[in-house]
Amino acid sequence: MSREEIFERLNLVFRDVFDDDSLTVGESTTAEDIDDWDSLHHISLLAAIEDEFDIEFSMGQTVKMKNVGEMVDYIAGEL
């Protein structure tokens, strides 16, 4: 799966979780950029990403990712 395809599917997840169809995330998007992205939504988001890509985040991993770009790096590595 190319990086573009991962972003495309990731956008679908973000749109569902934050219920905002206009949402588009990029390499440098962080929680600061999305109003509702708090720790509670973060849990739902990770669960939805795991489901979408059929991967599992390890315990350490979830705290390490600093932006969406790093999230995509991790997903790409798992696929």
Partner: protein, 592 residues
């Protein structure tokens, strides 16, 4: 909403919860608002979000209070201004095995473990007692799930020093408490975890990362279960299971295969599955569920199929049998009108997806579970919680008999032709008295279940009913009706608040199964007599319209009240002077 019926897609509910909530809120339902305090021993945010979806699905619009992280005990024991002003209608205590303070070790003696068990139980029971005293509202308590490991292996469950043994003993004490305290309900998390799969349910990652007591995917199962209890408390259970016949209650088509050709009974696996399903349905009767048939069949064949020698359900297990070639939505409407029950209290079990779709599209609000494989039928009906038992009143247990007696009354009415003669021939006797403790449960149940003949739609818990009766400022009456066909049980409830020389009616309702029998006349005659005795000059009645109580919009007018106020929402206020009231003297012997 179909997404919220069992079997549901947990992951979708988690991912699309915001959108689903919006859809539910814009569905044009009428809502009852309930204030729900969630007191957690772990994180409760997702639990509240998912519980909201399931409650909205049941027509309950929740307002939530959430305790601060793991503060369930402090909130309950020491009070909390925010919780006090919140005034919960329901309290849900979400605790798990990690909230147990002390577990036995291999160093403990039997006596020490017994003492430990007592101490642990009282940690919880003093809290429940305190909540009862402080709020007097229903409490839902999770039982304890099992940890994901067993230090003593298989002995962990049987040895007094095992954690699982200790937990199971603690749970037993919790169940005893629930059996001796009205308004205390157990949410069976232990079962939910087992049916979900304990390894996944208890995935420690969710505890250590987020302090959730279970995995996220388990949350919808947990909250559906809590929502089932809540909607049952508020009288929103389904009442009637309407069954198709061919390939639903037996394998094959009786019209084509003949009675000897259909599959039910112990001979073959397929027959056994249908037998088990029939047995379950028959058992539903024992918890007050009414059964009916809605099948495309010649009636003769349908009856023959139900008389199959190895069958378990028999024609007289069903209150109504519609076996004809009419459309099933039409049959459904007729069943509802014959039973005088809201069609939205029906569940429709049919193996045919087209028939199910038509029923959904009819917009009646009939619950239509997905009956896709015969081996899943029983579980799909059971797990949906349509008939969740929170109390079993004497009324629930004899409901079928009452509806059968009603059918006999209808026959008599038709044979006599004259309605007055019919009423006289019934030999009706009413008991009309102030609320008595043995009926508190039934009275509370009626305030929650009655929608049509209900002037104020004030929903009351048993605690509310007790308080009304015990207050010197209330005048309360229940009405119980018997006739030659049987006992209808408690069918009417009125309660008014005395303010000065006026009696303000807070409750006036009646079960629709005794419509047009004169019970309302008997209630008013008695109420006026009691009011006069209490020095009251006038009775003030209120009508608050809902989507369902149109039938009583002009009730007070018909009873001789004068309309004194109305507002834009069509709320109306009525007044009756007790001194000029003329008794209505219905054809009912009144026993005080």
């Amino acid at each position: 909403m179909e997404q919220l019926q069992y079997p549901f897609e947990s992951k979708t509910l988690l991912r699309k919860k915001i959108k689903l909530k919006k859809e539910l809120l814009s569905s044009g339902n009428s809502w009852v608002e309930k204030r729900i305090a969630v007191l957690g021993g772990s994180t409760t945010n997702e639990i509240v979000d998912q519980l909201e979806l399931f409650l909205l699905h049941y027509g309950i619009k929740p307002v939530f209070y959430q305790s601060e992280y793991a503060q369930y005990w402090q909130d309950a024991m020491f009070g909390n201004e925010q919780l006090d002003t919140f005034k919960p209608d329901i309290i849900y205590i979400h605790t798990n095995w990690r909230n147990i303070t002390n577990f036995p070790t291999t160093a403990n003696t039997v006596a020490e473990v017994d003492a430990m068990l007592e101490a642990e139980f009282s940690h919880f029971s003093v809290m429940w007692d305190k909540l009862e005293e402080r709020f007097g509202c229903p409490v839902i308590q999770d039982n304890f799930d099992r940890p994901g490991w067993r230090l003593l292996g298989n002995s962990d469950i049987s040895d007094y020093r095992g954690k699982t043994n200790f937990i199971s003993r603690l749970n037993q004490k919790l169940y005893q408490y629930s059996q001796t305290h009205n308004g205390f309900y157990v949410n069976d998390v232990d079962y939910l975890a087992a049916s979900f799969g304990l390894d996944a349910w208890s995935n420690p990652l969710f505890w250590h990362m987020y302090k959730y007591s279970l995995c996220l995917e388990g949350v919808p199962y947990l909250t559906k279960s809590v929502a089932d209890i809540i909607k049952s408390i508020y009288g929103k259970n389904k009442k009637v299971l309407v069954c198709d016949l061919d390939n639903t209650l037996w394998g094959g088509v009786v019209g084509d295969d003949g009675v000897e050709g259909i599959q039910v009974g112990p001979e073959v696996p397929m027959g056994q599955i249908y037998s088990e399903f029939q047995k379950y349905i028959k058992e539903l009767k024992s918890i007050g569920v009414l059964l009916a048939v809605n099948s495309k069949n010649d009636e003769e064949n349908a009856i023959a199929g139900l008389n199959h020698p190895d069958g378990i359900l028999r024609p007289d297990d069903f209150i109504v049998i519609k076996a004809n070639w009419e459309n099933k939505d039409r049959n459904m409407r007729e069943i509802a009108s014959e039973l005088n029950l809201g069609i939205d209290s029906f569940v429709f079990a049919d193996d045919n997806p087209t028939e199910r779709e038509i029923m959904i599209q009819s917009g009646f609000g009939v619950a239509v579970p997905v009956m896709d494989k015969v081996e899943n039928y029983l579980r799909v009906i059971d797990r949906n919680g349509f008939f969740e038992v929170t109390s079993l009143s004497a009324d629930d247990l004899s409901r079928e008999k009452m509806y059968k007696a009603n059918a006999q009354r209808t026959q008599l009415e038709q044979s006599l032709g004259n309605y007055e003669d019919f009423l006289k021939s019934l030999n009706m006797k009413a008991t009309i008295r102030c609320f008595e403790p043995i009926y508190y449960q039934r009275i509370a149940q009626l305030t929650n279940k009655s929608n049509q003949f209900n002037l104020t739609t004030l929903r009351c818990s048993e605690g509310d009913i007790t308080r009304m009766q015990e207050s010197p400022n209330y005048l309360c009456l229940y009405g119980k009706l018997e006739d030659k066909f049987g006992d209808n049980g408690v069918v009417s409830v009125v309660s008014g608040e005395i303010i000065g020389q006026e009696l303000h009616m807070r409750l006036w309702l009646m079960s629709c199964r005794v419509l047009k029998r004169g019970v309302e006349d008997a209630m008013l005659d008695t109420l006026v007599a009691d009011a006069k005795e209490a020095g009251i000059q006038s009775i003030i009645g209120y009508y608050y319209p809902t989507a369902k109580n149109h039938m009583v919009e002009e009730f007070y007018g018909r009873m001789g009240f004068e309309k004194i106020a109305s507002d834009e929402e069509k709320n109306t206020t009525w007044k009756l002077d007790v001194n000029t009231y003329e008794s209505k003297n219905p054809k009912i012997e009144i026993n005080r």
